[in-house]
Structure formats: structure tokens, C-alpha cells
């Protein structure tokens, strides 16, 4: 991280902590404690599975909400509070500012996710199961969730560069939902007889981020092996997509009239 983006990133993280963003960890802790105590009472044979599924789903949903709502506020809050003007008066490029804000939110999400991972581990320990080698797939699933956060934050940042926070939120959620249904878009294209429609569906399929790539919750729950090649491919996919979005955000934000 460069000398200019680093301080912005650290300040963004500090600001998030000051804004009590990490309070969501209390809800997560309560959820995991409740689940660990109740799971044996309400179901049979799937105590461990429920804890893993619930833990990973909660990590994903809590993080998604944070990514969207904090992501859309990264730029707009600075403009609203007029702190952006003070910042940009310093020797910092707009793209560096954006990158710093983005990295700061990613640090916040990573810290939050790490804390929730510890909570999940504690809940698993409570239900009386020693950790085994196949539990590595849980960590990989969490890593995939983090990649998903990186993509969603980048999407939120991108939309917030040219529209209002409300619309940015709607657009980000819309693209997320479209990304979840990416495979259906492709299948729709494959079934279409019209070549133009087929072409549009294929284009949309490659254009929207495919969030199904990062879904490894089921595999983690069943202790399935997740190949290293998939980890590499997903990492590359997220890096490339984030690069596109951050570049586009920087280009738009650099030209934006801030008066």
C-alpha cells in the first residue's frame, strides 16, 4: 500500500470502529451461542452441520450488509461531511483516495470476519467435536466469502461514484441478485432460439459477477475437499473483477464535478 492510500485505509478502518460497526459481532456471538445450545434440542443428526451452515451463512449475510451499506457511504459520506475537500487539497490523487477507502473497508470486513470465525470455532468446540483435517474447507469457505465481500464492496463503491447512496444500494443489491442467478441467465441464453437473445444472455452472463463461484458453504458443511485450483481461480476472478470496478470507479470519480 502506498504512502498516500495507507493512511486513508487505516483512517477508514478507525472510523468504522468509531461508528460501532463491529457491534454486529455481539449479535453474531449471541446467535452462535443460542444455536450451539439449542441445536441438539431441535434437530437430529445434523448438530455440527447446522452450526457450520448457520455460522457461515451469518458471516456471509452480516458481511454482505456491511459491504453494501458501508460501501455506498465510502464516498458520499465524505462529500456530505465536506471532509473530502480537505483531503483532496492534500497531495493525494482521487484514485488513491478511492483505493484507500476501499482498502480500509476491506480491512474492517476482514477483521469482522476473523472475529466471527473465532466465534464459529468456539461454537463448534462447544457442540463437542474435535477439529479434524477436513475442517480446512470451512476456512476456505470463509476465504471465498471474503472474496465475495471484496467484489460487493467494489460494486458499491463503483455505483456510489456516480449516483446517490439510495440508488447505489439498490443497484448493488440488484447486481448481487443477478450474480446469484448468473447460471440461470446462461441457461436462458442456451435455450433461446433467437441468436441475438442468445448473444445478449451470454454477454450478461459474463458481465455480471458470478457469485455462485464463491459458494462453498455446502462443501464446508460436509467436509468436502475444495481443490486448490478452485481457490486459485476464484482468487483470480475476484482480483480481476475488483480491478475492473476500482479502475472504472477511479475514472468516473476523477472526472466527477465535486462542486
Amino acid at each position: 500500500m502506498s504512502a498516500t492510500t495507507g493512511p486513508v485505509a487505516i483512517n477508514t478502518f478507525r472510523e468504522a470502529v468509531r461508528d460501532r460497526v463491529l457491534y454486529n459481532l455481539i449479535f453474531f456471538a449471541l446467535l452462535m451461542m443460542g444455536a450451539a445450545i439449542l441445536v441438539g434440542e431441535i434437530s437430529i443428526g445434523i448438530e455440527r452441520l447446522v452450526i457450520i451452515d448457520l455460522g457461515l451463512t451469518a458471516i456471509s449475510i452480516f458481511g454482505l450488509v456491511m459491504s453494501v451499506f458501508l460501501g455506498v457511504g465510502l464516498v458520499s459520506k465524505e462529500i456530505e461531511k465536506r471532509t473530502l475537500y480537505t483531503l483532496l487539497a492534500k497531495p493525494i490523487e482521487r484514485w488513491q483516495f478511492l483505493l484507500g477507502k476501499y482498502a480500509g473497508l476491506l480491512i474492517t470486513l476482514a477483521v469482522n470476519t476473523a472475529a466471527m470465525t473465532l466465534g464459529l470455532a468456539a461454537a463448534l468446540f462447544y457442540v463437542g467435536r474435535p477439529f479434524v483435517r477436513s475442517d480446512a474447507s470451512i476456512l476456505i469457505a470463509i476465504y471465498f466469502i471474503l472474496l465475495e465481500f471484496a467484489l460487493i464492496t467494489a460494486l458499491a463503491l463503483f455505483f456510489s461514484c456516480f449516483t446517490s447512496p439510495m440508488l447505489s444500494t439498490l443497484f448493488t443489491i440488484g447486481v448481487f441478485v443477478a450474480g446469484v442467478f448468473a447460471a440461470d441467465i446462461r441457461n436462458f441464453g442456451a435455450l433461446a432460439k433467437n441468436p441475438a437473445l442468445k448473444g445478449i444472455a451470454t454477454l450478461v452472463y459474463y458481465l455480471v459477477p458470478n457469485f455462485q463461484n464463491f459458494n462453498a458453504i455446502a462443501a464446508a458443511g460436509h467436509g468436502d475437499h475444495i481443490p486448490a485450483s478452485l481457490v486459485g481461480q476464484n482468487t483470480m476472478y475476484a482480483v480481476l473483477y475488483v480491478a475492473v470496478l476500482v479502475l472504472a470507479s477511479s475514472a468516473i470519480f476523477s472526472r466527477r464535478n465535486l462542486k
Binding site: 452441520l49 448457520l54 456471509s60 446469484v180 458453504i217
Partner: protein, 303 residues
């Protein structure tokens, strides 16, 4: 606002909020009393399409599968042993569960039990249980236990011994499968339908299951099969007695007096067997042992 009034409002809130919630709860109780509660078995699944639920899960289908499995268990638990209960929603619940998480082995294995058990014990749909377990095998080809379950379903509920033997045989080809699967396949192919084979199957279930409920059920079945075997032997001895004495035996004591048996045969609960007026051996009325019910006509496979 002064600190005094701030303190006052805090006290009012602390006392007032619980009171207001109590009033809300009472009011809701009154409203609920006006609306009749739906009778058991009348509730419907709002969404019964597994594919649709999977689509709308937005990638969180594993947790939804857990929820649906828990609902299945509770649904079954609410109805099992209750006279007049119907299990109409059991199959859709299990269908959704296994569609959402095709690797949830427990849903196939226990779901098959819930579906197959007759009378008050389940939905009496072994055909659907077979569909469920076959789906499980297709999704989890490495799991030999599902093949054993399929073999059991064909054997016990459908009386389809060739299909049962085949299911055990397929399972025995799994490198992780224990040797008894292959032995079972051969045994059923050779002597399907005999009490000894049935006892062998239930003994394996008793020895291999990790679930206490299934273990208890297997023990009950083993006791019932033992009693059934005893009754068959006693009936043969009663026939010999009849030929020798010209009348039916009234008790096992008479068989002993005639030198046909050495002691007083007792059922697995420890109660002596009795004879009815026709000279057929029966379980003692005090006994809790139950002879397994055999379907007169095996159910037809689900299409």
C-alpha cells in the same frame, strides 16, 4: 432536557416498556382467541416446489436445508404415535430438504424410516422411501449405507428379494463397505423371506446404527422375530402333540409333560408362551413383544 427529567423519563421507560409489552401480549392473546387454530395435519407448505425454493435461497440453501430437515423431524415427531394423524406434508418436506442439500445423508436415511413405517409409526409409503434413498445414492455414490438402506426397504417393506439382493450387492462393491453387505446379498438371493434372513438384517442394523431410536426399533424387531420363530417351532410341536394325544395342547407344560420340550419356553420378555383353543401358540398377554406385521400384498413401486 435537564438531568432530572432525563432520569425521570428513564425510570418511566424502564417501568412502562415491560408493562406495555405485557398489554400487547394480552391483546394478541385476545386476537388469537378469535381466530381458530388450524387442526394438526391441516397446515400446508406455502412453497412446495423444491426447485423454486432453491432458486430463491440466494446461495444460502445449506442453511435452508437444515431448517427444512428440522421441520421434517418436528412434523414427524408431532404425528408419530398419534391416532388419526396423517403425514401428507412429509414427502414434500423431505423432497425440499434433499433438493436443497443433496449431501445430507441423515435426511435420506431417517427420512426413509419416517416414510416407510406403517400405522402410527409413519407415512406407510415405502415406495416413496425407495425414491428418496435412490436419489440419495445417485447424489452420494460413495455412501454404502444408503445401498444397505435400499436393500432393507426392498426386503422388509416390498418383499422384493431380487431387488434387495441387488441393492446389497451394489453396496458391497464400495471399497469402504463392510463384508457383511456381500454376505447379505448372497443370503437374500438364496433364502429371501426366511425369518433367519430377517433376523440377520435387523441384527446388522442393530450392530451398525449410531442412533438410539433406530437401535431400539431394531431390538424390538429382533425380539418380535425371535418370538415368531419360537411360535413356528411350538406350532410344529403342537401338531406332533395333537397326533399323539388326539387333542390340542392347552399349555407349554403339557408339551413338557409329553416329553416334547425340555423346559418352559419363554419369549424375549421372559413370559411363557400360551396356546389358544385352536392349539396355536401365542405370546403371553402380559408380554410387550410384538410380532412384526407382514404386508399381505407388498406396496407397488412409486412411479
Amino acid at each position: 432536557m435537564t438531568s432530572v427529567s432525563a432520569k425521570r423519563i428513564s425510570w418511566v421507560a424502564a417501568a412502562g416498556i415491560p408493562l406495555l409489552f405485557a398489554a400487547i401480549a394480552m391483546l394478541q392473546g385476545r386476537i388469537d382467541a378469535r381466530i381458530p387454530t388450524p387442526a394438526a395435519g391441516q397446515e400446508n407448505l406455502i412453497l412446495s416446489s423444491a426447485a423454486l425454493i432453491k432458486k430463491f435461497s440466494l446461495g444460502y440453501e445449506p442453511l435452508l436445508a437444515d431448517i427444512y430437515w428440522t421441520r421434517s423431524v418436528q412434523y414427524y415427531g408431532d404425528r408419530v404415535g398419534v391416532r388419526g394423524s396423517k403425514f401428507d406434508s412429509l414427502w414434500p418436506l423431505l423432497d425440499i430438504t434433499t433438493e436443497l442439500d443433496p449431501k445430507m445423508i441423515v435426511a435420506y436415511r431417517f427420512g426413509a424410516i419416517f416414510l416407510a413405517e406403517p400405522g402410527l409409526g409413519g407415512a406407510d409409503r415405502p415406495d416413496l422411501a425407495i425414491v428418496l434413498v435412490k436419489r440419495g445414492i445417485a447424489q452420494n455414490p460413495d455412501n454404502w449405507e444408503l445401498n444397505a438402506d435400499l436393500g432393507f426397504l426392498y426386503y422388509w417393506w416390498m418383499r422384493d428379494y431380487p431387488a434387495s439382493s441387488q441393492a446389497y450387492l451394489v453396496g458391497s462393491r464400495n471399497p469402504k463397505a463392510p463384508p457383511w453387505l456381500g454376505m447379505m446379498a448372497a443370503r437374500i438371493a438364496q433364502k429371501g423371506g426366511s425369518i433367519q434372513t430377517s433376523r440377520m438384517i435387523w441384527s446388522q442394523i442393530y450392530d451398525t446404527t449410531r442412533d438410539p431410536t433406530v437401535r431400539k426399533r431394531a431390538l424390538e424387531m429382533l425380539k418380535g422375530l425371535k418370538a415368531q420363530q419360537d411360535e413356528e417351532q411350538l406350532n410344529q410341536l403342537a401338531e406332533t402333540y395333537r397326533q399323539r394325544m388326539g387333542r390340542n395342547p392347552a399349555s407349554t407344560e403339557e408339551l413338557r409333560s409329553a416329553g416334547l420340550i425340555g423346559g418352559t419356553p419363554v419369549d424375549p420378555d421372559g413370559f411363557p408362551y400360551v396356546f389358544n383353543a385352536n392349539g396355536e401358540s401365542k405370546l403371553n398377554p402380559k408380554s410387550t413383544v410384538s410380532i412384526p406385521r407382514e404386508p399381505k400384498t407388498p406396496p407397488q413401486p412409486f412411479k
